[in-house]
């Protein structure tokens, strides 16, 4: 009996290949939720914390919306349009060859580049609420956490990267690509933090965080690149066909559009 116990104890501390394989396989199959934390997964205190973290950003987004729509009445329909784009992009399955399955991009990189990070947080909040209520994708209790990972982290990472690269004269396609990639990866990094902190119980945070992070890599790494390509494709297409729209949104200066 005691020999069996010691055997079990020694085995417990081993991370066997089978266990790791099972973990990776299990998490890979859930990648449809890569950006959205499902309803009820976070306990009350964590759900409330992420709500509290997201609310100031949404409030600032509403303040910016009020200010900008007072100048241009077509701004609200435009923001509604961006919310619809984020909704559709984050519902759109994209094949991920390494996993042999499908996942979805976030779309916050492109929305942050086009309408700015503050409005992009608002756009994400709207898209996530519609998905939670009418598709059971994400959730009401995890709305705050999803806004924070996808809206706040995704939008700010995408926007700041794009602006920083453009300020050092990096090509628009490359800047948009990197912005899209980082927006996606920032989102999944934050989702990993939220998931690990929410489901860890009494277990230590870091080991679970690393497990979730590593398990997400095979899908989210190529997915981030796909999101970068999509963001770049959209910005370049707008630049080629309708540079006036980019000037209107403040992405491009009038003299750059004339070149």
């Amino acid at each position: 009996m005691s020999s069996q116990k010691s055997k079990v104890k020694s085995q417990k501390h081993e991370i066997t290949f089978f266990n790791s394989f099972l973990l990776v396989t299990l998490v890979l199959v859930t990648d449809a939720h890569a950006m959205h934390i499902s309803e009820g997964i976070l306990p009350f205190n964590w759900a409330a914390l992420w709500f509290a973290a997201a609310v100031p950003f949404v409030a600032y987004g509403l303040y910016r919306l009020k200010k900008l729509s007072a100048v241009d009445p077509s701004f609200k329909p435009l923001v509604g349009l961006m919310a619809a784009i984020v909704f559709i992009i984050s519902c759109m399955p994209i094949p991920v060859p390494t996993a042999g399955t499908c996942s979805h991009p976030a779309g916050t990189g492109i929305s942050a580049i086009l309408v700015g990070p503050a409005i992009s947080v608002l756009v994400t909040a709207v898209a996530l609420l519609i998905q939670a209520l009418f598709l059971a994708h994400g959730g009401l209790s995890t709305w705050g956490a999803d806004i924070f990972s996808m809206g706040v982290m995704g939008s700010f990472a995408g926007f700041l990267t794009f602006r920083a690269l453009r300020s050092v004269k990096v090509n628009m396609a490359v800047a948009a690509f990197i912005a899209g990639v980082l927006a996606d990866w920032a989102t999944y990094m934050t989702t990993s933090v939220e998931l690990a902190s929410g489901i860890r119980g009494d277990s230590p945070f870091l080991p679970l965080f690393y497990k979730i992070l590593i398990a997400f890599i095979p899908t989210q790494l190529p997915l981030g690149i796909l999101e970068g390509a999509m963001t770049s494709g959209m910005v370049v297409l707008l630049y080629k066909r309708r540079p006036d729209l980019l000037v209107k949104m403040g992405v491009l200066k009038a003299e750059e559009a004339a070149l």
Binding site: G80, F134, L237
Partner: protein, 255 residues
Amino acid sequence: MKLFSEHFQKEHPVVKFDVRAKLAVVIALLLMVLSYKGVLFPLFIAAGCFLLCVRMGIPLRVLFLRMAQPLFLAVVVLALKCFFTGEDTLFVFSLPTSHFPLLTLTVHRDGLIEGLKIAGRMLGAVSLVIALGFATPFTEFMAGLSWFRVPKGFIEIMMFAYRYIFMFLEDAHTIYSAQKNRLGYSGMRKGLRSFGTLTGSLVIRGIDQTQKTAEAMTQRGYTGDMPLVKKRPLRFGEFAVAMVFIIFAGAIWMI
């Protein structure tokens, strides 16, 4: 468009029930489910919501499709918790060649209990939101949010987004079919290029559409604020039913 839950709504008293009362009940139950320390209460709520949806005439296939992803995630979390966290060993799966660690898997009792709690919480909470989605039309929901003093700007953006989603889906389907017919997704490079063109075209068409919408709305007297459906005063009967329901659920939650 069979995408949204409200498409499957049928004539049922719960659908006609005041949205404010429904929202109050769902939020109260959601808080109870999230703060519950066991498994039974969330499962009781999940079973209740499932029966309600069936009574509302929601096809079982649709119900299972809505539940499939959260259900699967619940199983995954359960597996993660019982295999990878905890100290107290419940049992060990091992094939005859157990000296080879590749084929050994340990189930932990404390991990299993914790996993069951999370999975139960997920099922209870998801069922509540699914039932709310099936029982509430979008416009009613907007009116309810307005009554709860959700900022008007937020509600307006939600209404615009809802309108554009359908427009986009139609356009996206048309463009995607055209691209697919011309072998636009026959390889990785081609697929990426086609996808970029698809999303870019949708954005350009959408932005043009917003300009037209704004012009049309301005011509009809739009000054930046959209009128919302005004809710009738809350009926005492509906309020009382909601309160009794919350108190009843609260009593079960405390037991």
